[in-house]
Subunit: 213 residues, 2 copies
Amino acid sequence: MPRNEPQQGSKPYHHGDLRNALIVAAAELIEETGADHFAMVDAARRAGVSTAAPYRHFRDREDLLFSVGELGFYALDAELERIRDQNKRGSIDTLIAMGQSYIRCVTSMPAFFTLMWGEQGMVRGEENVQEKIEERARGFWMLVEQVAAWCEREGVDEPAALEISMNLWSICMGLCHLHFNRQIERFAPGLNPYDMLSSSARAYLGGLAVAKH
Amino acid sequence: MPRNEPQQGSKPYHHGDLRNALIVAAAELIEETGADHFAMVDAARRAGVSTAAPYRHFRDREDLLFSVGELGFYALDAELERIRDQNKRGSIDTLIAMGQSYIRCVTSMPAFFTLMWGEQGMVRGEENVQEKIEERARGFWMLVEQVAAWCEREGVDEPAALEISMNLWSICMGLCHLHFNRQIERFAPGLNPYDMLSSSARAYLGGLAVAKH
DNA sequence: TGTACATCAGTGAACGCGCGTTCACTGATGTAC
DNA sequence: TGTACATCAGTGAACGCGCGTTCACTGATGTAC
């Protein structure tokens, strides 16, 4: 019988990839019940191990949650990178597409929201956490770069790129928030966050370009 | 000895206004530790009563939290009303001032954030909760009214007022979010949400007005 | 190739804690006569 | 004005539950000789 194949019927003593299995299990649970109500023991149960097993791979609950957050950023960054590479550098369509993909990502995993940008993901006094936190900003710097290119095109002062990027991020954040707290469908049932981003970002950037000409 | 004056030294058996005292205590605790970690027993302790007492006034924990949310909306609406009455109807400055006051309110009571616009405040199958939830929208309708007046002035289609209001709300929401998760000071230390709102709302509304002329 | 041994990744049972909520109670208050 | 009684707003003790975490353990794996 081959070593690496798990025997049928009897589960192997060693899991093989428990760390990742726990992250995935936790991510699923968080999707279902929200990060606040996430329970360490449930993650273990879902991964099919004892409640003590996770502590071989994570210092504590917070440590696991942090890793789940990393998973979220990984997915988001990959998506943003894809959008960026498929569109013209610094065009308004690129900026909007990036924003829409941001909204899509965040919306498709709403429970990651607080996990990714909440306090908890940021405040941890530990060894090499600082660089991990830097990593989490990758998507934002992608946006800044595109905005800077747009500024160059439009003859807008480039130093403003950072502020413009923050404002665009704000709009996306706000739309995400309103969207998955169901405020959009509540107050304006005909609208959706993707079109709203498109129209408001166009008006905003348009207003900036006009002001500078 | 007068009836209504509490005796010094010995605390009276009846509190007198325990319901409100509990709401205030809960609000303070939520400010300190966040709504998620808020504990019913702590509210009772802070109000100086036994842990069972709150259940004379609130069905359960959720019920108390809902009432705390109402307090938040009460403060917000009062502030928005004040700003509206002090400014010119439908001017861009009024819109921005309302947004800034929104940010100020939300920022000054960050822990109310999820309580006021999170799921929990919205999903409750109960008697006359529906009308209470309607009440929570008062501030938003104030904004819509001002935006409609602005539209009239600028010759923008008035039906767009709702969408424009949602977009402005989004921007404020996003700025609040970024602000008190410390993302603004992290990425753009020189900026603050108030000026950001002012500049982005002006560009956005300017862009809309230009597009229509 | 075989064996001894260190190390690793699990188990299962238990701990302690804090919280939401209930229960039988008791002191205070309001009211009908 | 005084009294009996219903009702209200508290008390204090206890419950049950679920969760985070630890502990001594054991089975599996990798490696030096």
